[in-house]
């Protein structure tokens, strides 16, 4: 990996962290309403995978998708405005935090029903294969989605017809508040793919370079016509499931362990359930972002001054996005009708409600 690519990846990780922290702040201030599912802790997954993608690839994501959208190239302004429900948002204020769509960047949406990304990716993969194009469909999902019927139905069909789909499991070990040992009989998610003959790999999802390498390998196989590939990435979200979730079900030591990137086997048995404070998060040490920053500097790709400048630019970009979102106009009801009927040819009846 060259210096420019490492810098680009680090920049996106820092942008991702800054974006989500700004979103949390806007939520706390009451500027963002509804559900808000944040990504801190999991940045290495989105950045490692999407930096291996081509512009011609399609991305299907979940309700925890702000960072996927951001790394895919959707401007922070448009994402932040959508979180604020504004007309300038990427979905025109009709989707919200969980439903970011961008046709021009082949971002096929965030889906808020667990397990929906599989059939959408299946259909996109079918269309790509039907047209015999060298494109791939990247399908994100969490460990909580692996027990939905669509997981099994779609993996079966993807393998049966050799569809160009890259299944990426963001295993953050929790389906909302239930830890994976309490929701899955087989907790090594990648092993389930073998039930459908899909090549699968498991990689440390806190190590962005490892994620990136694995994603490149898998996407190359997808593009070569080898059919679907499966990657499990072990990661961790520092916050609760959503802003409404204090995450009291998780042992503090577990969080600390992930943030310090320590072995966690002992930690998850610790019975001290407590939501980590901001201080605890800060004290915990090397998470995936810090870890990669340190590495870039240690290996001589970057230095403190460059990183500092990067952080400064990102602060400005995110502050600009927040200001843009706050100042943007709200959509009108007529915009909702327009979104509803866009591209539509009602052979008779334009609804009277307009």
């Amino acid at each position: 990996m060259d210096k420019a690519q490492m810098a680009a990846m680090l920049r996106d990780m820092l942008r991702a962290r800054a974006f989500e922290e700004a979103a949390a702040q806007a939520y706390a201030q009451g500027h963002i309403a509804g559900f808000l599912h944040l990504y801190p802790g999991e940045e290495a997954v989105a950045v490692g995978v999407l930096h291996a993608a081509e512009p011609g690839d399609y991305v299907v994501s979940t309700y925890r998708e702000h960072v996927h959208a951001l790394v895919r190239g959707i401007p922070a302004r448009q994402i932040m405005a959508e979180l604020h429900g504004k007309k300038t948002g990427v979905s025109g204020g009709m989707g919200g935090s969980m439903h970011l769509f961008d046709r021009s960047r082949r971002f096929l949406g965030g889906y808020a029903i667990v397990g929906e990304t599989f059939p959408i990716a299946l259909g996109a993969g079918y269309a790509v294969a039907y047209r015999r194009l060298p494109e791939a469909v990247i399908c994100f999902f969490g460990d909580g989605a692996i027990n939905q019927g669509t997981f099994h139905e779609s993996l079966n069909m993807a393998a049966l017809w050799k569809l160009p789909i890259f299944f990426v499991c963001e295993n953050n070990h929790y389906q909302i508040g239930t830890e994976i040992h309490r929701h899955s009989a087989i907790t090594e998610v990648y092993k389930r793919a073998c039930g459908y003959g899909i090549p699968a790999e498991k990689v440390d999802g806190m190590d962005v370079t490892a994620v990136h390498e694995a994603a490149k390998r898998a996407l190359a196989r997808v593009r070569a016509g080898d059919g679907p590939q499966f990657l499990e990435l072990e990661t961790y979200r520092y916050r609760g499931h959503s802003m409404a979730d204090p995450a009291t079900y998780r042992p503090k030591a577990e969080l600390n362990a992930y943030q310090a990137n320590d072995p966690i086997a002992a930690a998850i048995h610790e019975a001290e359930y407590q939501y980590p404070s901001a201080e605890a998060i800060a004290e915990a040490g090397a998470d995936c972002v810090t870890r990669f920053t340190d590495r870039c500097c240690k290996e001589g790709h970057l230095d403190d001054a460059v990183v500092q400048r990067m952080r400064q630019e990102i602060q400005e970009e995110i502050a600009d996005a927040v200001a843009f979102a706050e100042q943007s106009p709200a959509p009108e009801l007529q915009d909702a009708w327009k979104a509803f009927q866009h591209n539509r040819r009602f052979e008779i009846f334009m609804e009277a409600a307009q």
Partner: protein, 330 residues
């Protein structure tokens, strides 16, 4: 113009659209080698190949969702769900995905998806295979639902649905597949959601769709011998509904009778009755009435099954009652 069976009309419509547009494909259980449970896709796999006529595993939610994803990329999938009863397994794909993605994306993604399925009570298939679920789909903004009752409509409404950029449910009926009628493949079809007056009569506007249309027409013949003349309107579409055609007729007859095979409670008839009452109240000479299925899972026993859905005599009796002044018996 030629006479053909309803299933054959659907089959020819599929063939015509697949020949005209290579983005059209169909998928579902047994649509390929087997030729479709009701023969609707017969011969298509041999002609168009397996990528355009795809036999799927029994995974309704995911293969319907596959149609959604493929439609987002510009294909025009026609998903066949073997019967409406199995559509319950695909409600997430239909309701949460197909109906909402065009809107949630701010209008970025059209949804040129057609979902075909037969509904209704056939003959002694038991409660799980004898459902009418149109009321559940009508209440979903973003879906359009057509209910062709004749081979001619089956042919044209399916072709129009495939060409539409919205998700459209083509709701067929198991007992209509082997009904016969004239099909004019060169005709200029009416707009897909326009209602059609099947019979003109001065006394009562009778609205009947799908398999209930032939029953209503039979009842009208019988009532005519008694001097009661029915106008029969075939709405042809349950979402949207052509209110103009319905209301114009009720304003002339001053009476309205709705016939539906679906259960009475919160069914399509309730929507017709409520809206027409709002629009035509001061012109009505009698309360709007519904003849509908009983609010009961369909019994297996043949006699009970027949009694649980509208029969010709039920329509005749309801019409007589509408024409009878209060206080007298019909």
């Amino acid at each position: 113009m030629s006479e053909m069976l309803y299933w054959k009309a659907l089959n020819r419509a599929m063939d015509a659209e697949m020949a005209a547009d290579e983005t059209v494909l169909t998928l579902g259980e047994d649509v390929g080698l087997y030729g479709g449970t009701y023969r609707v896709t017969e011969g298509l796999m041999a002609k168009y190949g397996e990528w355009r006529v795809r036999d799927t595993p029994i995974s309704e939610n995911s293969f319907t969702g596959l149609g959604v994803g493929a439609a987002m990329l510009g294909l025009r999938p026609v998903v066949e769900i073997m019967t409406i009863n199995f559509a319950l397994l695909a409600m997430d794909a239909i309701v949460n995905m197909a109906a909402k993605i065009p809107f949630m994306s701010g209008g970025q993604f059209p949804m040129p998806l057609t979902i075909r399925m037969p509904g209704g009570v056939a003959r002694q298939l038991g409660a799980q295979h004898s459902q009418r679920l149109e009321h559940q789909l009508m209440n979903v903004p973003g879906l359009r639902i057509v209910v062709p009752a004749t081979p001619q409509d089956a042919y044209w409404q399916l072709r129009q649905a495939i060409r539409s950029d919205d998700p459209i449910i083509v709701l067929e009926h198991e007992l209509l597949y082997f009904s016969k009628g004239e099909v004019d493949e060169a005709a200029e079809a009416p707009p897909i959601h326009q209602a059609v007056v099947r019979r003109q009569g001065r006394d009562i506007t009778c609205i009947a769709y799908s398999q209930m249309l032939p029953l209503a027409l039979q009842a009208a013949e019988q009532l005519a011998t008694e001097g009661i003349e029915l106008t029969i309107i075939d709405p042809r579409s349950l979402s949207p509904i052509d209110w103009e055609t319905c209301a114009r007729s009720v304003e002339q007859t001053h009476r309205c009778l709705i016939v539906e095979e679906d259960c009475r409670f919160a069914g399509a008839g309730a929507e017709f009755a409520a809206t027409l009452q709002e629009r035509c109240f001061y012109l009505l000479d009698a309360p709007i009435r519904r003849v509908a299925g009983l609010d009961l899972p369909t019994p297996f026993n043949g006699t009970l099954e027949a009694a649980s859905i509208p029969r010709v005599e039920d329509i005749v009796l309801a019409a007589r009652q509408i024409m009878t002044p209060p206080g007298e018996s019909a």
